[in-house]
Amino acid sequence: MISTPLVVVTGLAYLLLLFAIAWYGDLRAARGRSIISSPWVYALSIAVYATAWTYFGSVGRASVDGIWFLPIYLGPTLAMVLGWIVIRKMIRIARTHRITSIADFIASRYGKSSVIAGLVTVIVVIGIVPYIALQLKAISASYLMLTAPADQEAPLAAVRWWEDSALYVALALAGFIILFGTRHLDVTERHEGMVAAIAFESLVKLLAFLAVGLFVVYGLFNGLGDLFSRAMADVELARLLRFEAGAHSDYLFSQWFGLVLLAGLAFLFLPRQFQVMVIENVDERHLKRAVWVFPLYLLLINLFVLPIALAGLMFFANDGADPDLFVLSLPLITGHEALALFVWIGGLSAATGMVIVEAIAVSTMICNHLVVPLLLKTRRFRDRSAGDLTRLLLNIRRLGIVFLLLLSYLYFFLAGEAYALVSIGLISFAAVAQFAPAALGGMYWKGGTARGVLAGLGAGFSLWVYTLMLPSIAKSGWISGDFVEHGPFGWAWLRPEQLLGLTGLDPITHSLFWSLLANIAAYVLVSLWSRPGAREASQALLFVDVHQRGGNPQPVFWQGRARVEDLQRLASRFLGAARTAALFEDSNGHTMAGARAGEADARLVQQVETQLAGAIGSASARVMVASVVNEEDLELHDVMRILDEASQLRMYSRALEEKSYSLQQATEELRAANEQLKSLDRLKDDFMSSVTHELRTPLTSIRAVAEMMHDDPDMPNDRRQEFLDIMVRESERLSRLVGQVLDLARIEAGHAEWHNSDVDMAAIVDQAVASMAEQYADRNARIEMSGERRPGLIRADADRLIQVLLNLLSNALKYLPDEDGKVRIHIADTQEGVTVTVTDNGPGISEAEQAEVFDKFRQVGDRRRRQGGTGLGLPISRQIIEHFGGRMWVESVPGEGAKFSFFLPRQNEPEHTGAAAAEPREEEARP
């Protein structure tokens, strides 16, 4: 055993440390340097989910049911997979509306109904008290185990209440929670210090549990393999490692499914989870990491549950030791007292963490949704216009905390011994799961109405009481168990655990099935058959579409007249003078126009209401604001109108944005088109100047020769003949040039005439070669032919193709060397088409000039050889080939000659024929 003073002092010292952390957290928050603004701290604070139930109860359950302790952690893991979708939306909504609790969340969605808020609060209090009692039981039982003499059984419970350590634990915790939970009034102004302390506690309990796990596995056994092999040698223990271990082997499936679903829903809607996940969230982005860190935490803290349970069962074989306390008894019995004390601190962390957050959350709900609405009904409270009410509200919350803990203690004292930890926890889970239809439905379905929620919650909660709560009380012996066995008045079909004779489900799954079925059915059906009020409809829109409103201002669903002075007085009663001043200065920026004449506009009224909601809940805030302003009733069509205005405004701004964007695009396009036109214009000018330049050269020489002949009538005859030859040659060149310019213009404009027929490329080549033969012979040059000569027919204009070949051949001839000039023509005939190559052994064309040879009037190479050329031959040839869907290109290595090639496809499809598409197609005219 460990001496009582040591345990008590250690426990108190630990609580003091927590308080110091909380105090430091608040201090840093006040200075604007938050210590909890980290996704890791956020994830650790969510781990408040792991309570004493996890810490002690999991081992207890595992020692009876094997791996059936796991669904409680798999459910939240799966819920967290959807966390980025669901919880983020909850955070966004809660921030927009300054939601203070899960009750406020549901009530606010359904038209800020104070009845719904009250009902949810009542369900929470009834459902959660056993859960808090469970924590007290854990603290008390672990304390007794630690301090009991080793040779003596730990006493089950203290005999008289004033000797009961649990009572003092409860009171100490109440004091502790009051000290750092209710210092500010506004709960949406987060409890940074508390969150820091909770995150620290999560760390401690994880480390303590891992420590005892490692101790058991490696201290008492030789690793996991050893532990499991020894356990599996025992038939009873080996059974725990199989699935059927979970008692009711008949309905394994439904039970497993039910537990996973139950845990997942409870995880989302437990008041303390809502508090740490949604209300205490500093930054939405922290959720991104928390959604996987938190499941990882759960996995780690469950890693050693099964080994510890098996080890405990082997160690204390059948001597009646409480499996719930194996984590403590194993180190204690082996004499590791320091470890036992650390483990106890871990358990204390798990329990206090839960109690602190739960008590803060629930006391806020009691104050805002039960006490304040009642106070608002009394005249005296409403008329007491002067005076600050913040102190009163704080005191109500403090009383709420004490009340809740004493109630839990009472439950523990009266009924706590009857149940194992896990069963108590599951009963609470099932109560909280009733909020799922209203909350999830409210977030994703605009059709849910307040009446539907009241019907659903009422039906679900009643069935929960009847099928789960009452039987559990009966089992504790406080009421007769007859009605559980035989049904009320002996009506067997009303037996709470086999309602309507439904068997095949364990009690928890049975209750969950009936209560959720009734809940969902009533919620949906009544919602469908009732018309939502104006405020419900407007809140539904604001909740469901919260993501769509992103940066846009919220539409304000309020109309009427309000005096700034009244609002100010109201706000200062609940928020205090300083915050009120800040609020009105703040909003002055927006509402100058509205507030100037002492009149508040709708936005200011709504702002005041939202701020009040942060203090007293949305339903009470609604009532208070309504009492000081002169408001007109909002009808459904008003909601629609306001919404229309808002969405119209949004639409206008979007349309404006789109218009300016398309204008910008049009400008861009115009600029590009203008650039293109300019460059085309430049090209045309260049072309014109090139043409005139080319025309002037022969004209000049003709004129010069003609003038000479004119001025000199005595010119000898042979000289006259020579001049006339020049004139003829130059005029021929001139007319050729003019002909080519016209030709090119016609082809480019698509007005050329094409006489298509099936032509044989080889024949055409022969024809071209024949007509050039004389000129080649004059220069002692040869033409060689190679390649296939099979008759490959191509659909094309024969004359045009000859023109191309003549062009290539005469070009080549111009650049051939004077000695041993040689041109090779190669025809390659394939399935796709015909490729003709004309290779010469001239000087070749440099890389830079290759790019230019197909440009108009661009003659390359030295000046002497260019004579007689027009600079239009190659461009025209290329146009012709492209017209038939082919292409023309040049390859050359300077010094080794040039190789001009063109390729003509066999099937020149219409899309390849370019200009020909506009021509009358001769094929079509054929029969």
Binding site: M80, V81, L224, V291, L296, L299, L303
Partner: protein, 64 residues
């Protein structure tokens, strides 16, 4: 981008739910051992760990 992430999360949720409930979870229910560990707990913990790893990968990959 956002929509794609949401669809992946929904798919992962369905996959996790299937793997961690009937009847797939009974695939591990054999009196065998892997590395000296009983198959059922080892299998369930492994599926759980993989689920968390995939979730972490999905969330951390997304920036901003």
């Amino acid at each position: 981008m956002k929509q794609a992430l949401i669809q992946k999360l929904l798919a992962l949720f369905c996959l996790g739910w299937l793997l961690l409930s009937f009847p797939l979870i009974t695939l591990w229910d054999h009196p065998a051992t892997v590395f000296g560990l009983p198959l059922l707990p080892a299998g369930v913990f492994a599926v759980w760990a993989v689920l968390i790893a995939v979730l972490a990968w999905l969330m951390e990959r997304e920036t901003g």
